[in-house]
């Protein structure tokens, strides 16, 4: 029962992630794509957690999600700084 619930959550998050990916490639502005990357970061963290709960090994996957959240933040901040440029 619980495995079924976690796999349902996994499928739902995966659908959200795939829709975000498709929309990211369909948008034309650079900043819109960056917005989708930011939103995908959070969804991927939750997705990793859902995978862990489905397998029953959440103690390992929680650490992976923790490190991924920090890494995704660093990536998106560097991208935003690079695109935005420096103020005059």
């Amino acid at each position: 029962m619980t495995t079924y619930f976690w796999s349902c959550l996994l499928a739902g998050l995966l659908v959200i992630l795939i829709i975000m990916l498709i929309m990211m490639f369909r948008k034309k502005t650079l900043l819109d794509k960056l917005n989708y990357v930011f939103a995908m970061n959070t969804v991927i963290v939750l997705l990793i957690l859902a995978v862990g709960f489905k397998d029953g090994r959440e103690d390992m996957y929680i650490d992976i999600a923790l490190s991924y959240s920090i890494l995704g933040f660093v990536t998106s901040v560097i991208l935003a700084k690079y695109i935005g440029g420096r103020k005059r």
């Binding site: 917005n35 939750l46 999600a65």
Partner: protein, 223 residues
């Protein structure tokens, strides 16, 4: 099915609905800044509800503390990224004139066009004639470019020859930083009307502040 699992399932379903709402908001909202707002819904409330549901499912252990630590990292770091993106968008799109000033731009773009022309000009020194300059230019709208330059408002000497003004401006640019002007969003209506008249924009009767702002910015984008 204990009551703990029911509470966890309820929290997680609510969080998933929040994520779906944020996704529809990102897709369907009309403006970039509203899209950023819709992303914030999923980042804060959706992530919090899902992580709290997982923590309730685990129970009182160290792992639930780690889950809340993930939430703390998301909440601390996502506003920073969103803020950087807003700054990038404002600098790129020039939203409501916060990045560049309306008159007397510190940008290097409009300067090189009138600068080569004053060199043949010094012959008719007694009569200041900045108007005949834009006419030989083949551009359809030459008026708004040279006009805002010889009339920077906050300078203390409003009635001097345009050439001396240019020299003063050069001194200003080489020496101290020019004083930062009010963003056009915060100007009063009379100031906005003066701006529009300087740029050669016709204002319709009974125009509100917003209409004048839209006119000015639409004129600016055409350059």
């Amino acid at each position: 099915m204990t009551i703990q699992m029911i509470i966890a399932a309820f929290l997680i379903i609510a969080g998933f609905l929040m994520m779906a709402a944020s996704l529809t908001g990102i897709i369907r909202f009309p403006d970039f800044f509203t899209r950023l707002h819709a992303q914030g819904v999923g980042d804060t409330l959706g992530a919090f509800l899902i992580l709290a549901g997982m923590a309730v499912y685990i129970g009182a252990e160290l792992l639930s503390v780690k889950l809340l630590l993930i939430f703390a990292i998301i909440v601390l770091t996502n506003p920073i990224g969103t803020n950087l993106m807003i700054i990038a968008a404002i600098n790129r799109v020039d939203y409501q004139g916060y990045a560049t000033e309306l008159e007397g731009n510190t940008e290097p773009e409009p300067e090189p066009e009138p600068e080569p022309e004053p060199e043949p000009e010094p012959e008719p020194e007694p009569e200041p004639e900045p108007e005949p300059e834009p006419e030989p230019e083949p551009e359809p709208e030459p008026e708004p470019e040279p006009e805002p330059e010889p009339e920077p408002e906050p300078e203390p000497e409003p009635e001097t020859k345009p050439e001396t003004k240019r020299q003063q401006k050069k001194k200003n640019q080489s020496g101290k930083k020019p004083r930062r002007r009010k963003p056009s969003m915060k100007m009063k209506k009379s100031e906005l009307v003066e701006e529009a008249v300087k740029r050669g924009i016709e204002i319709p009767e009974g125009a509100t502040k917003k209409v004048i702002l839209d006119l000015i910015y639409s004129n600016k984008k055409q350059k």
